[in-house]
């Protein structure tokens, strides 16, 4: 069997998710990684169980987005005839996977947290309360995988690199991207890839300093509730929850967040959950492994001092 993965890049650098996808795909067959980009990007694929790299340097993906990426991946599929196709779960990844499923008449499973050798996918649904195993029964097993779900196999890779040119069809040029603004990153780890996420909500009252300080001491990413992004205190790209990102870190720290169901939908599968909230009745405590009933402006600075003391 052969499997294709779509390599993930962030700020032009290959991201850890690529090796995670390869690790899962390798259970099902020999892995070919597709790079939507040039050969310099392809040359960065140096880790993970990857046999081949195909670079599709298609500028149309920048000009036409998802539709052009569908054409590029369809060309790779026509050449490689994979049994399994793994793509990272993101807005772009899921839409790409969905359109490819239509185009190749294949089944689709989204937001998997594991993939077995026979391409059975594991999903956690209903806010993490139910584990579902499903299997594609028709065509290619197209599966989108949540970042941070497996320990990546980082053995050095020496893949054979080739390039493929694929024209973008006229229908894929119907929607034209006229300008692009990259998300604000601020030097912290990618939210969905981070091992530790510290999030702030309305309780920060707009002052994220203690949240950021604590996150930085732990090497974590900073997230926010919708109340915080709606208020403009933090960018929308940092929102955790149903209409934001789904994160599944080793440690999630919710500060001044009540724990509405829409917020919980995006963080409930975190390994360890910590909550700091003034209100002992806040629903976030129902899912917290460790909760501090208190003011985040007192608790977080003391915790930050505690880390500094341990480090020195």
């Amino acid at each position: 069997m052969s499997a294709v993965i779509l390599a993930e890049f962030s700020d032009g650098k290959v991201s850890k998710t690529t090796a995670e996808l390869a690790t899962l795909a390798a259970r099902t067959g020999d892995v070919t990684a597709v790079v939507l980009g040039n050969s310099q990007m392809a040359a960065q694929i140096l880790a993970g169980p990857i046999k081949k790299v195909i670079a599709v340097d298609n500028a149309d993906v920048l000009a036409y987005g998802v539709a052009a990426a569908v054409d590029a991946l369809a060309a790779v599929i026509a050449q490689e005839s994979p049994k399994v196709l793994l793509i990272a779960s993101s807005a772009f990844g899921k839409e790409l996977a969905g359109r490819l499923a239509v185009r190749t008449n294949s089944g689709l499973i989204t937001d998997a947290v594991d993939v077995a050798a026979d391409a059975t996918a594991t999903q956690l649904v209903f806010g993490g309360s139910t584990t579902v195993h499903s299997k594609v029964s028709h065509g290619i097993s197209i599966i989108t995988v949540r970042p941070n779900s497996v320990d990546p196999d980082l053995t050095p890779a020496t893949p054979e690199v080739s390039t493929l040119t694929s024209p973008t069809s006229a229908t894929s040029q119907l929607a034209k991207i006229t300008s692009t603004q990259a998300p604000v990153k601020g030097g912290r780890p990618e939210l969905t890839e981070a091992q530790i996420v510290v999030s702030g909500g309305r309780g920060t009252n707009g002052d994220f300093t203690p949240v950021e300080t604590f996150a930085d001491l732990l090497g974590g990413a900073v997230g926010a509730s919708r109340a915080a992004t709606d208020a403009g205190w933090y960018p929308h790209s940092m929102q955790v929850g149903q209409t934001g990102k789904t994160v599944s870190p080793q440690l999630y720290v919710a500060c001044g967040i009540s724990g509405a169901i829409q917020h919980r939908a995006g963080m409930q599968t975190s390994k360890v959950i910590v909550a700091i909230n003034k209100d002992p009745e806040a629903p976030i405590f129902e899912v917290a492994d460790f909760g501090v009933v208190g003011d985040l402006f007192a608790v977080l600075p003391q915790a930050s001092e505690g880390i500094k003391a341990r480090k020195s």
Binding site: K94, E95, G128, V136, T171, I196, V292, G294
Partner: protein, 260 residues
């Protein structure tokens, strides 16, 4: 403009959800209009209102399209009372448990038969949570895909539409000509509450129910659920009052868990 809005009835977000023979058990829980679709209805109404309204006799109509059980009519009624003109409900036992591939096929076959200018969706159904149906519709219809819109600007004379696409990858401005499939994020607007007048008017509006028989759609299953098992509830853990040492207690806990 002829605008279609795809709306879905879903179990209430707060309801406890269970699986029954590999499918979501929809019988035992309260069902509501998918709240993300309310933003799609609101945006369609605003687009119509900005260009002459959608009252009888005006040049705009807002048609709801939904696939689901017959009781989905309740959710559709809510969207009608917000101000949509009419609705088509595709309801058939053959469609129970349909996945996104079938759903998009059924919706696309209905949309194809009418000459819509724009189809507007929510970004996600709160039960399936796949966020793929709008993109699949664009693929099936060979229409422009304008999804994850944080704002929509329509020019009916030029038959053009421009959106800002807001995702984790940043903010893009995207333009296209009609017809186009749009999905809207929840930050785009504040959905209106149905007025008393709207609720009364909705009672008289028509919901045309169709079976799957007349559709040019291939209804099939592309994937199977092997099993579904409830996970042990995430028991409430340790909770301490911050009597001045809450931060220290937290660090002690994290150290025990080897997280610091």
């Amino acid at each position: 403009m002829k605008i279609a809005v795809c709306v879905k009835q879903v179990p209430d977000s707060w309801a406890e959800k269970k699986m029954n023979s590999g499918r979501l058990d929809r019988e035992g829980v309260d069902a509501v209009l998918n709240d993300l679709d309310e933003y799609a209805v609101e945006e369609a109404l605003r687009i119509a209102e900005a260009h002459g309204g959608n009252e009888e006799g005006s040049s705009n109509t807002v048609t709801l399209i939904s696939m689901g059980p017959e009781r989905a009519a309740e959710a559709i009624r809510k969207a009608l009372s917000m101000g949509a003109n009419n609705a088509i409900l595709i309801s058939d036992v053959a469609l129970a448990g349909a996945d996104a591939l079938t759903t998009s096929e059924v919706l696309a076959s209905v949309i194809k038969a009418e000459a819509f200018d724009l189809v507007i969706c929510g970004t996600e159904s709160t039960d399936a949570r796949m966020s793929v149906v709008p993109a699949m519709l664009a693929e099936r219809l060979s229409w422009a895909q304008l999804t994850f819109a944080g704002s929509v600007k329509v020019n009916p004379d030029a038959k053009s539409v421009e959106i800002t696409r807001v995702t984790e990858s940043g903010v893009d401005t995207i333009t296209a000509q009609f017809p186009a499939v749009i999905s809207v994020i929840e930050k785009i607007n504040e959905p209106r509450y149905p007025s008393f007048k709207g609720i009364m008017a909705a009672k008289k509006k028509s919901i045309e129910t169709r079976s799957a028989a007349g559709l040019a759609a291939n209804i099939s299953a592309w994937s199977d659920v092997v099993d579904a098992t409830p996970r042990p509830a995430r028991g409430a853990g340790i909770k301490v009052e911050d009597g001045g040492t809450g931060g220290d207690a937290l660090i002690t806990y994290l150290a025990e868990k080897k997280l610091v």
